[in-house]
């Protein structure tokens, strides 16, 4: 389990994350929702060990992230960042193989290739493997980066839960690939991985998440299963915009409709 206990992160004289306690549990897909500037990406940086909290601590399997060897950590948790810019003409295959970097000297080239191939297929970019990354569209790039983080965690013989942290993984994807990516993430969670996804689309969260966390001004407003958390009042308070909640026709999950408010 990745567990943050009362973590705070100060940037520019104010707390962007303020005494937050949250955990990424094995077998669970947690979705984090919140308005712009709520501290979602800062929370991702804390949970991934990229930033050290000013107060509180973050642990993986009970050990402080600061005490993990970088490469050991990289084999256990992967992060899909919001935007990754790459202007050099690496091929898609080379980009995905970069995900195998933490496994150097432990896995054979054949294993690396098999892992990369499986990830490329899972992210539906196998047909792009030979293309130069800068020639891809935004959505294709996002899927390739997703394949890279999948390849990073692929490890046949290794024990230990894997943790996947996704920061707005669907921002450039079409509806089919949005559903596909989160469906895959949910499948990995059922396989025992811990998955956390920062999402902007409340309906994607309502459909795919086991746990929904509402974040506002660096604090957690509510946390729990979709039906208990995604109430009109709470969502309205979180986003500062009227939100209607009903039941989906195709699934017993909340259907969230932002009110058609105009600029006032």
């Amino acid at each position: 389990m990745i567990e943050a206990e009362g973590v705070s992160l100060r940037r520019g004289g104010r707390f962007v994350v303020d005494e937050v306690s949250i955990s990424i549990r094995p077998g669970t897909l947690t979705a984090v929702l919140g308005p712009n500037g709520a501290g979602k990406s800062s929370l991702v940086r804390l949970l991934s060990g990229e930033a050290a909290p000013d107060f509180g601590k973050v642990t993986l399997d009970g050990r402080d992230l600061k005490r993990w060897d970088r490469r050991d950590l990289a084999r256990r948790r992967a992060v899909l960042s919001q935007s990754v810019s790459l202007t050099f003409p690496l091929s898609v295959a080379e980009v995905v193989m970069l995900g195998r970097a933490p496994h150097r000297a432990r896995s054979t080239r054949a294993e690396d290739m098999a892992a990369a191939e499986a990830s490329l297929k899972a992210a539906d970019v196998w047909h792009l493997a030979g293309r130069a990354y800068p020639t891809l569209s935004g959505g294709e790039r996002q899927r390739v980066q997703f394949a890279r983080v999948l390849a990073q965690l692929e490890d046949g013989g290794q024990s230990g839960t894997r943790y996947l942290i996704l920061d707005e993984p669907t921002s450039s994807l079409d509806i089919r690939h949005q559903a596909r990516l989160l469906g895959l993430a949910g499948g990995l969670a059922r396989k025992g991985w811990g998955v956390l996804a920062v999402l902007h689309d409340a309906n994607l969260a309502a459909i795919h998440a086991d746990t929904v966390v509402l974040l506002r001004e660096g604090r957690i407003l509510a946390s729990g299963d979709p039906w208990s958390v995604m109430t009109p009042d709470r969502l309205t308070e979180t986003f500062d915009h009227p939100v209607l909640v009903s039941r989906r026709d195709d699934l017993d999950r909340p259907l969230i409709t932002p009110a058609a408010g105009t600029a006032d």
Binding site: S48, E50, R70, R71, D72, L73, A74, R75, A78, V79, S81, V84, S85, L86, T87, F88, P89, L90, S91, A93, E94, V95, M97, L98, G99, A101, P102, R104, M113, A116, E117, A129, G130, A132, Q152
Partner: protein, 352 residues
Amino acid sequence: MTSLPLRDAIWTGRSRHAGILAILSVLAAVAIIASLGVGASAISPGTVLRTLLHAADASPRDAAIVLHLRLPRTLLGFGLGAALAVSGAMMQGLFRNPLADPGLIGVSAGGAMAAVAVIVLGVPALLAGTVGPFALPLAAFAGSLCTTLAIQRIASDDGRTDVSTLLLAGIAINAIAGAVTGFLIFGSDDRQLRDITFWSMGSLGGATWTTVLGLAPFAVGAVVAAGRWAGVLDALLLGEREAGLLGFDVEPAKRRIVIATAAAVGAGVAAAGVIGFVGLVVPHLVRLMAGAGHRLLLPASALLGGTLMLCADMLARTVVIPAELPIGLVTALLGGPFFLWLLIRQRRSFPP
């Protein structure tokens, strides 16, 4: 399983890599032999090879020209070209910017300035005994290192390097180095003045076995070390953040790369003055041929850099026989237009 040929083509590509390196090696060998034969007194490739393999059988005249005049110059040129090209490739990876070049961003000028200062002001007596013949390379190394670190500070913000800041900082540093060099020229005598001119335009004319030995450890060191950093350089193309998340120790790696780059450029400047554009043009050509993966980019750049440097030197030696052009002029004449073409092309493919 998917078709194996597809997998081979996409993943390993090793045969293709090997093919490219083999072609570049052949080109390099041809350039070396040509460079040993071309000059005021032309010697046929056959004679060059015979002289190299059986020095005892060759005529004393051929042996003298090939082994004592042209071999050090050729080795210096090749080593220098390789060192500059590999430094350029590493710098471009480090700054995540294809326009980074030791000459353009002021690293060479910083090294040259320090070297000129040593020529004019002399080595302090206390140090002269210990550093002796390595005073110039060490000064150029120190100058290059300081400039690289300064540029890294100026142009990088939160792990991202801003292109325009990088190039503008290069302009400023080139101007400062030029001004300081100008001041030093005031205080120099005729002999020093000639030396300084040689430094600022670049030439392989001063090649002796001593200069070759001065450059060799730095050039070979940088090229060999670069090979070990191919993985982290690839990861750095995604950004420092991603490289860190992939388990690389980014900060120490960056420091080592900066030091190796500065050492290679500094040693090159010490041996032959400022020779621009090799570090820019060569990695670009390789990327066009073979993509941006550093495992191939670095060795291929070394081979192609050495080869192109020898070609430039042959031009410099032959166009105005019996005099010779400074090689820095030749590389600037060829590299300048290439750089402009690159800028225009970038503008077209990434409109502002």
